[in-house]
Amino acid sequence: MLRVESVSKRFGGVVALDGVSVEVDKGELMGLIGPNGSGKTTLFNVVTGHVKPDNGRVVFDGMDITRKPVHLRVKIGIARSFQQPKYFPSLTVRDNLRVATRDEGLIEEALKVVGLSGKSSVPAAKLTLHEIRRLELARCLALRPKLVLLDEPMAGLAMREAAELGELIKSLNSTMGLTYVIVEHRLSSLFKVVERVVVMNAGRKIAEGTPEDVVRNPLVKQAYLGRS
């Protein structure tokens, strides 16, 4: 479904991505992990069009989207959430989704799926962090995506809330066939959700495999702990 081919990106002297190649299959739940500054969010930004790569290609559903603007990538089925939760605080929960779609039925369904139906008329500014994370997910669903990129969706949540969100993501994956790529630092919570993990460090992909495989990988241990 998604193929990132030898993508590189520099910000001045900083190499954020150095020839990274990643493939995501349809219906897959993939985790993307790595220490801070390893290039995970930059890779997300390259896929969604918020950052243009210096080299390499991004192919989605067989189409080269490397130079397509953000809004067109959304239209072909790529939705994302942000590391710092993004929402429109002065708008109600329902109006936040109205920006994404004019289909009221779809809005209703998305709110129901994430458990925010009872808060549809509440200004988004009054939501808790847990609810905001769910609102972000609902917004992604309202865009009728094929691929959802979630950037640290569990950050700041309590253990129980993170587990609930993980279960919700898994159920959406199985019932609706949505493909997910999830960046997360809470590895124990992430590993309960994803089937495959890609590990990045210093702008490069250093490992790939099942959660069990990558935690045993010496390069991954070195990246996280500084020793193997």
């Binding site: 969604t48 918020h50 603007p69 953000v70 809004h71 959304v74 239209k75 089925g77 939705a79 994302r80 942000f82 993004k86 929402y87 429109f88 605080p89 002065s90 708008l91 109006d95 936040n96 109205r98 920006v99 994404a100 779609t101 004019r102 779809l106 369904e109 998305a110 917004r139 669903l141 865009l143 009728r144 094929k146 609706m176």
Partner: protein
């Protein structure tokens, strides 16, 4: 839930006590303005009120396109200038004049939106400030065509000061205000408001924000263009005074910031009030006017600062 996203304006939504309050305010102000000619016999005052109404409409369009989207525009009088010159340099037929002014206003709106494709915040504001000054320089330099500060004489077709002219302006103002009010209650209006909060997130919702900016400025420019045509018709001359950003822009900013920025209704009323206040001030000394306008600038500063601090 899969499928392609279709950007449309979306259905009109009327709901909530805040919306009802705005609607009550619209009905109230329309009712009061409708009976003005019965209570005011002075043709000067009626003419001044007509011009204030038109300034109220122009302020509401500014609120709609600039304040609601967060693209604070300091050169909005440029739209008035383009609309006025396009119309009055082309023909003397009133019907054609209105149409040409609308086209000129829309063109001005397109030109005002273009810097917003690349610039935001103070950079956009400063870039737009250049527009009216360039137009003023052109109008003065090409005196043979534009007649500079003296202005192009406007064909006399509107009986100034009479109830006929007032009700024509009043009808136009009511229709314009209702159009803008209805638009902000649609999905398009919600998108305009969301742009002032987080444009990156709006793009991430599959919306081409450049198109939204362009459409909002074209709508605002078209209405502002027709307003300018009526305004200049009442005034009798199209000159650089219509384009001068000060003090008109200060009044617009203040009117939009007083209450519910981007809500159209209160900026319309604020525009009327401040224009009448400006007429009252014309009798004051330049020092007093300077002091009052400076005080207004300070108020605007705190209004804008307060709005941004709340985010």
């Amino acid at each position: 839930m899969m499928g392609s996203y279709k950007p449309k304006i979306g259905p009109l939504r009327m709901g909530g006590p805040r919306a009802l309050g705005d609607f009550a305010a619209i009905v109230g102000i329309i009712a009061v303005l409708a009976v003005v000619p019965f209570a005011v016999t002075s043709s000067y005052l009626l003419s001044a009120l007509s011009m204030a109404l038109l300034f109220g409409v122009i302020t509401a369009t500014y609120d709609f396109a600039s304040i609601r989207t967060g693209y604070i525009n300091l050169g909005y009088t440029f739209i008035m200038g383009i609309a006025g010159y396009v119309a009055f340099l082309s023909t003397s037929s009133p019907q054609l004049l209105a149409l040409l002014a609308a086209v000129g206003g829309a063109l001005g709106g397109v030109l005002m939106a273009l810097p917003g494709f690349r610039l935001r915040g103070p950079f956009y504001a400063m870039a737009t400030l250049i527009f009216p000054f360039v137009l003023i320089v052109i109008a003065r330099t090409m005196y043979d065509v534009f007649k500079g500060d003296d202005g192009v004489p406007v064909p006399f077709w509107l009986p100034v000061g009479g109830p006929y002219a007032y009700y024509l302006v009043f009808s136009f103002a009511v229709v314009s205000l209702l159009v803008l009010y209805v638009l902000i209650r649609t999905r398009f209006g919600t998108i305009l408001k969301s742009m002032s909060e987080d444009e990156i997130l709006v793009e991430s919702n599959g919306i081409n924000t450049n198109i939204i900016k362009l459409v909002s400025f074209v709508i605002a420019g078209t209405i502002a263009g027709i307003s300018t045509f009526l305004y200049v018709s009442l005034q009798g001359v199209m000159s650089t005074a219509v384009i001068e950003p000060i003090p008109l822009l200060i009044y617009m900013l203040l009117a939009c910031g007083i209450y519910k920025p981007g809500g159209v209704v209160w900026s319309f009323m604020g525009g009327i009030g401040l224009y009448m206040f400006d007429i009252y001030l014309r009798g004051a000394t330049p020092e007093l006017r300077l002091a009052i306008i400076s005080a207004m600038l300070i108020i605007i500063y705190f209004l804008i600062r307060g709005r941004h601090a709340a985010r």
